[in-house]
């Protein structure tokens, strides 16, 4: 793992001694993609682990945000605007999704008086 992190192309590491050329940021696209992957994995683990429906929803949002970060990074390093425009759509969809999901959770809570996924298992039995 340490060897992987020291892998120079992974971080787009460009060694500049300060004598020639403009200062290039040491952390390039791979660093942003790595961060995005870490965020996505965290959200995924949260969705699988947590029992509270609301927290599961927050972890879903975390996964969406991770994909958003990857899109913006690609857009920036590729020099196109398409990824950034796509982020607008993702934000809109996410807002609508949260509104509908929370309304469903409230309706569920009204009927069952719980938001724990362990107790919401009536389809299982």
């Amino acid at each position: 793992m340490i060897a992987l992190l020291n892998h120079a192309p992974l971080f787009g590491l460009i060694l500049n001694n300060g004598d020639t050329g403009p200062v290039v940021p040491a952390y390039g696209l791979p660093a942003y993609l790595l961060l995005s992957a870490v965020l996505f994995a965290l959200g995924f683990i949260g969705v699988l682990l947590r029992k509270n429906t609301l927290v599961i929803y927050m972890c879903l949002e975390l996964m969406l945000l991770a994909s958003t970060l990857a899109l913006v990074a690609f857009s920036h390093f590729q020099g196109t605007l398409d990824g950034a425009v796509f982020v607008f759509f993702i934000l809109t969809i996410a807002a609508a999704e949260v509104a509908v999901g929370l309304a469903i959770i409230v309706a569920l809570f009204r009927r069952r008086h719980t938001v724990s996924v362990e107790e919401l298992n009536h389809l299982k039995h």
Binding site: L10, L48, K51, A84, F89, L91, I93, A99, V100
Partner: protein
């Protein structure tokens, strides 16, 4: 400067995302999501997308997290007794770690990525508007209708139904 900022923002984002996942209290998880969003907005600014950072803060930090907090307070979900980690926990962690490792591995060995950012001016509101109203005009319309449908759906869902099962 940008490197230091990247490190700080990345650590902030990941640490607060971890807080969302592991915290027992739902309110604390929502606040962790909020801090994570702030870090992400900073990263967007680093990526020359200040407008997206602004929209992210408005939509997510302004609306989504507030809605989450509102629902958490409304439902009054007291955190129950914490269960010990089950076998499922281990499986979930392994799957997540495996996904992460596969992603990093393929990124390090297979990916062909541009090394330096393309030298372009910072996209302005005008650039975004031009794209949204020419190339992406149809998706914008579709998303608008979808927002309308979502609004109607939420109104229907939050109406009071009869308490009996199988209400009409």
């Amino acid at each position: 400067m940008a490197d230091t900022l990247f490190i700080i923002l990345a650590v902030l984002t990941v640490a607060s995302a971890l807080l969302v996942v592991v915290n027992k209290n739902a309110v604390n998880a929502a606040l962790g999501l909020l801090i994570s969003l702030l870090g992400l907005a900073g990263l967007f600014v680093l990526l020359d997308a200040p407008l997206l950072a602004f929209v992210l803060l408005m939509v997510y930090a302004g609306a989504v997290v507030a809605l989450f907090l509102f629902i958490i307070m409304l439902l009054d979900t007291t955190p129950g007794a914490a269960k010990p980690f089950s076998k499922m926990t281990l499986v979930a962690t392994l799957i997540g770690a495996g996904l992460l490792f596969t992603g990093i591995y393929s990124l390090a060995h297979r990916a062909v990525l541009p090394a330096a950012p393309a030298t372009l001016p910072v996209p302005t509101m005008k650039n975004y508007a031009e794209q949204l109203f020419t190339t992406y005009l149809l998706p914008v319309q579709v998303v608008g209708f979808m927002l309308l449908i979502a609004m109607l759906g939420v109104i229907v869902l939050s109406k009071k139904f009869d308490q009996t099962e199988g209400a009409k």
